[in-house]
């Protein structure tokens, strides 16, 4: 959580805290770290530290938006499936299983290659493909909520199903959706980094993955430069993923009925 907070803060305050403009050539290329450039400079003389601080904006934004989309779809599907039961449930859950079988990254690569490199495309592609897990978790929660007294009461009073879902079931699963969002965001950040690394990122704005992509293309790891060019962005991605994952897991542990039961037994 602290980790995430620090990263988010750096991302928000990027113009204030980063020493240079990440898009400007401010010094000679391939400089080792010095007092002026704490992490040295890259192949065209841009300050790597500033690149990373601004990169936090892109990486975190893409991760969050993609996760929001995925969890939005997932929660809707999960609530509808769990609440309706019967055939709707069977069909929706079959689709979930189906999506889970498809190799995720290759499909994302295929779609991203066709749609062209832009962050919106990446967000949409990840979001549209990553909803299956949240859908399944939400459904199991809904199954529990459905039989609670106040939901039964609302139904008995003749409330329409849509209303019951929106007013009584949805609020009960929202905390869980929050936890799912955080887990999904950690995945999305990793996937965005992989895409950017494969050269499918948006060329107009650099994320942490893009920095690594250039480091790879310029063979930074063959010289000593990897210590300040390759190591830091990777650690940042790991930190962000880890921060999201740990926060999500601890939330889920408290909220997910299945995990809780497994703990109790």
């Amino acid at each position: 959580m602290l980790l995430l907070g620090a990263l988010a803060l750096a991302a928000t305050l990027a113009p204030l805290v980063s020493p240079y403009d990440p898009e400007q050539t401010v010094a000679d290329p391939f400089l080792p770290p010095s007092r002026e450039h704490l992490l040295g400079t890259n192949d065209v003389g841009q300050d790597i530290l500033s690149e990373l601080i601004y990169g936090a904006r892109i990486s975190l934004t893409v991760g969050s938006l993609a996760a929001a989309l995925a969890v939005g779809i997932g929660t809707t599907v999960g609530v509808v499936a769990g609440f309706s039961g019967g055939w709707t449930d069977v069909v929706l859950m079959r689709i979930v299983d189906l999506v889970l079988v498809i190799p995720f990254l290759p499909l994302v690569i295929l779609l991203a290659a066709y749609l062209g490199p832009s962050y919106w495309n990446i967000i949409i592609v990840i979001g549209v493909l990553a909803w299956a897990r949240p859908a399944r978790v939400t459904r199991s929660q809904v199954l529990q909520v459905r039989s609670l007294d106040y939901v039964e009461a609302a139904r008995a009073m003749g409330a329409r199903p849509v209303r019951v879902m929106a007013r009584h079931v949805l609020p009960a699963v929202l905390p869980l959706a929050m936890a799912q969002f955080i887990v999904a965001a950690s995945n999305a950040i990793l996937i965005e980094a992989s895409l950017a690394f494969l050269g499918l990122g948006d060329p107009t704005a650099k994320s942490w993955g893009t920095v690594l992509y250039y480091a790879q293309v310029r063979n930074a790891f063959l010289s000593g430069a990897w210590v300040w060019w390759v190591l830091p962005p990777g650690l940042l991605i790991t930190a962000a993923t880890l921060g999201f994952a740990l926060t999500g897991l601890s939330l889920e542990e408290r909220l997910n009925p299945r995990v809780r039961r497994a703990r109790a037994s």
């Binding site: 066709y114 690394f197 050269g199």
Partner: protein, 327 residues
């Protein structure tokens, strides 16, 4: 096997067929749905330089002048014969290109899966056995770290340290170019090239198995029969090996299955970093060259492989868990 088992497999089979059908349909639809002429995606960007007659010829060659449903039937029929079309970058049949690459990926991914599963299960079981100890916490910390690290970045670090830095291992390709090796020397050469990509892929695959094993082991250790075994005076090692671990491994098989898609993803980036000549690297090259037919063919093959691995895992599962067999 009784009818329930068959029904289970029929359900699964139908599902895999559906995945396959979806993949094929997606591959068929993508180039035709995109804005602009589908020729760009089927025959390359040079299409713009051709005159009208040549374009019409190409159009007919790819069957684009026919109605959609006929195009689709032809497409499926070609696939069924194992024809994936031609790369417009290299002008070679895609099936042959993938065929060359597949053994390398199978070698890399297969070995990594076996090592990672064995290692993850062993470490996970031990960690749970010594719950709360320094070993447990240390293992957990390391596992969670590797679970969160980007695979390609791990590869780059390994290259920098063991390849470029220490100079112990080769970092490029799967074989030393321009050398005719035979026998033992050949084997050593291939193994040395395999070492770093294999290490990377294994490092990212161990945590999943480890965490699940530990978790499932913890719940098994709370069961009555463990207490019974101990009360009978069974030695601790035997309780760990024969009573606890055996039962705790069942969920590992499930995770193994779920991981297959993830492994395919990991292989793609890891092969790219090491220029390892596998299917994942081919996917990357296709992206670089905007070689759409190759991209699609590779995606199809990866999906088929994952499905095949899933089916294999489905068939193995009853062997592991007698309860599934009986049901």
């Amino acid at each position: 096997m009784d009818s329930a088992v068959w029904r289970f497999f029929a359900g699964r089979g139908a599902q895999y067929l559906l995945v396959l059908a979806l993949t094929v349909a997606l591959n068929f639809a993508l180039p035709r749905m995109m804005p602009g002429s589908p020729l760009v995606f089927l025959a390359g960007e040079d299409v713009g330089f051709l005159d009208a007659e040549q374009r019409a010829q190409l159009y007919a060659l790819h069957g684009l002048d026919q109605p959609r449903w006929r195009q689709f039937l032809t497409y499926v029929a070609n696939l069924a014969r194992g024809e994936l079309g031609y790369s417009f970058q290299r002008g070679r049949p895609i099936a042959a290109m993938i065929g060359e690459r597949l053994p390398w990926t199978l070698l890399l991914v297969g070995l990594s899966l076996v090592i990672a599963t064995a290692l993850g299960a062993a470490l996970g079981a031990l960690a749970a056995w010594r719950r709360g100890s320094a070993f447990d916490l240390g293992t957990l910390g390391v596992a969670v770290f590797f679970e969160s690290a980007p695979p390609f970045w791990l590869g780059m670090i390994l290259i920098a340290v063991f390849g470029a830095g220490l100079g112990w291992l080769p970092i490029f390709g799967a074989a030393t170019a321009g050398q005719a090796l035979a026998g033992w020397a050949l084997l050593v050469d291939r193994a040395r090239h395999l070492a770093l990509p294999l290490a990377t892929l294994t490092l990212i695959n161990v945590p999943g198995t480890l965490l699940i094993t530990r978790y499932s082991m913890l719940s098994v250790l709370g069961e009555q029969y463990i207490a019974t075994a101990r009360a009978k005076g069974v030695r601790e090692q035997d309780v760990l090996r024969r009573h606890a671990t055996r039962n705790a491994l069942l969920p590992v098989a499930t995770v193994f299955m779920l991981n297959l898609g993830y492994v395919a993803s990991g292989a793609t980036v890891v092969e790219t970093v090491f220029s390892y000549p596998g299917v994942g690297r081919l996917l990357y090259e296709a992206v670089l060259n905007r070689d759409y037919p190759v991209l699609q063919g590779t995606f199809l093959i990866i999906t088929v492989s994952v499905i095949a691995a899933n089916i294999a895992a489905d068939m193995l599962y009853p062997l592991l868990d007698p309860r599934v067999r009986r049901r």
